[in-house]
Symmetry: C2
């Protein structure tokens, strides 16, 4: 194998596929990045067997020559070294030459690296997916959907299915749900489908995979294809394929958890409320329980307090709007509400309480694309 | 005690004194920041008994009112909480009120914090230093001197005196030296003295203290006073005092270590040389020994190589200027040279070798304010 490639484009794509490579894999070949040069261009693959990323660098892009293939072939190179090396190479182009015994030479400017490669025949094949279940959505929307749900997945392996985000369709909409059983984040979006009848449920993508995917997605509204199969999901971007394993097991039915009635409700400005909770958390996080107390006062005032007996107490009053229903005293994990408010893009949110011991809901006031549900904390 | 203070100025000064506070102190009162309000303004103190920082916020600065003192007094507040709290307070001003039993109220905007204070009488007094040994230098120069030496101090406690930077005077110049016995960084500077006869040696400031001081120094050329006593050094900035304990023990005489003859010498561009070594280190740091090899070739070419048998080899040739003397092959700890080249501000450096097993010296070509000395590494 021998090819010469534009340095910046190569570095960009190597960093992408390196995201899928884990140094803790038990399969030695997966510590490497697979490089294939053929008559169309160069394909790079990285995988930790849960997530696989494949990128393709065409010979030409927008009339500019990116790769010159002198000899087709393939090699696997240690991802950790290779990704660092290409980043630091001095020239504008990089030459990759593979000789006998997988001995690989990488030349750029004054620099020559001789690396011991691995046998590309040992590298596992990526899954070939049936593309029956296919839908499309803009990249930036997918990025937002991940941001607004993935923080709520469980980090505990006791119920593995909760470490993922659940995807399902309902009435032509895509619904993403994440919950760690103390809080829940739900996000809806309209998607384009190849088949009007398309419907699925219990498609649970590991949170870790979505965090990696999110780093690759940009804020363009370019449509990406999503293919869903029994145990894999594939996101098809331009010149990049992102495969993730799906989590096994039955995702809990969350629809019925969302209260429909209201005992107390009011509206707050999102950002000032977030900042008030962050100040209250300064004391409550000390006890490691993050408990913050909320109490309705006269005239729509809301009192937020937090107590850490050894250190002190914080009290803050904020003005709400549209106060409706009974007086309310409730305690909650402040960190969970803060996490949710951080991904709320709307200026105002509405909080609906159904009782001091029942879950409560935060929704933006200007649309119903997402909601956040929280369990209160018992403080007695 | 009761006062109202401009939030931004208070936050700025609290962050400064908090740098001296360690959460691992064995003296409970030192986990706090001492606040004293008197008729002139507010004084803040933080200390871990090695480093003490005192800042003063005057009632007025440049005709602007900064503090209004309603009642003089003092308190000690837990640094960790207090520093975080003031940073997040919502108002433009902060009101601090101390009542009975050191109960302290901090108000700002809608936010009220009630904190348990500590008895200010328990807080140790700062040392009163004799100001006999006093010199002056610009802040930016001191900041540079720290940057160009402190990285070379030893991190090992086996020879405690080497964990500090040694200060001494010679012919009216200040000389700073740091060494971990494998490398040495030396920086000279002209200082202003209160006494033409001023001279001292073996003033060893802990590297840790200098790193903290460096964060407080800015790039202005405002002169700062430095007071040296038997076991303390004091840096006097405008409205800020920085005290550090000095290290005990005899600092090694380093002057004779610096070779005066030359077997081989040449000149290199600093930045390309640094980048070449960084690439070579990608492989050599793997073996944890950081060994990089240098070899002179024909025509002033220098070959840099590094080998990691399991991974591969890197070779790079760079062009030197003013090659003089014999051919040279030498191996060294590449990380040490990289550290030094990172603080070199000159475009070109001169390297002087005295033999494959003898120390070598790197100096900027355009002045003699600093030099870096390195021991080679045996590779056989």
């Amino acid at each position: 194998m021998q090819f010469t490639i534009q340095r910046d484009r190569f570095v960009h794509d190597v960093q992408h596929v390196a995201k899928a490579v884990s140094s803790r894999t038990t399969i030695p070949i997966l510590t490497g990045i697979k490089i294939v040069a053929d008559h169309e261009g160069v394909t790079l693959t990285g995988s930790d067997s849960d997530v696989s990323i494949e990128t393709f660098i065409p010979k030409e892009d927008a009339e500019t020559e990116i790769v010159t293939i002198e000899e087709e072939g393939s090699i696997v190179l240690q991802a950790r070294f290779f990704a660092e090396i290409v980043k630091k190479l001095p020239g504008d182009t990089i030459e990759v030459i593979v000789q006998d015994q997988f001995a690989t030479t990488i030349r750029s400017g004054s620099s020559v690296f001789n690396l011991n490669g691995l046998d590309p025949e040992e590298y596992p094949r990526l899954p070939q997916l049936e593309e029956d279940l296919l839908f499309r959505l803009p990249q930036d929307m997918l990025k937002n959907m991940i941001r607004q749900t993935v923080f709520a997945v469980s980090t505990q392996e006791t119920r593995p299915v909760l470490t993922g985000v659940n995807l399902e369709t309902e009435a032509g909409e895509l619904i993403c749900t994440a919950t760690d059983s103390h809080r829940l984040a739900m996000r809806k979006a309209t998607i384009e489908r190849n088949d009007e009848e398309l419907s699925f449920s219990n498609v649970v993508i590991p949170g870790k995979s979505l965090n990696e995917l999110s780093k690759i997605l940009d804020d363009s509204n370019e449509l990406i294809d999503v293919v869903v199969t029994e145990n894999q999901i594939l996101f098809k971007l331009k010149n990049l394929l992102f495969f993730s394993r799906l989590l096994e097991g039955k995702y809990p039915v969350t629809k019925n958890m969302i209260p429909t009635q209201s005992k107390t409700s009011f509206t707050l400005k999102s950002k000032p409320f977030l900042q008030t909770l962050e100040r209250a958390l300064l004391l409550s996080r000390e006890g490691k329980n993050n408990v913050i107390n909320l109490k309705t006062l006269e005239g729509g005032l809301i009192e937020i307090t937090s107590i850490q007996p050894e250190v002190g107490k914080v009290t803050e009053s904020i003005q709400s709007d549209n106060m409706q229903g009974e007086d309310m005293r409730i305690s909650f994990n402040g960190k969970n509400i803060i996490d949710a408010l951080k991904v709320v893009d709307s200026e105002e949110i509405n909080i609906v309480f159904t009782g001091a011991m029942s879950p409560f809901v935060i929704r933006p006031t200007d649309h119903d694309h997402y909601l956040h549900l929280f369990s209160p904390v018992r403080t007695y």
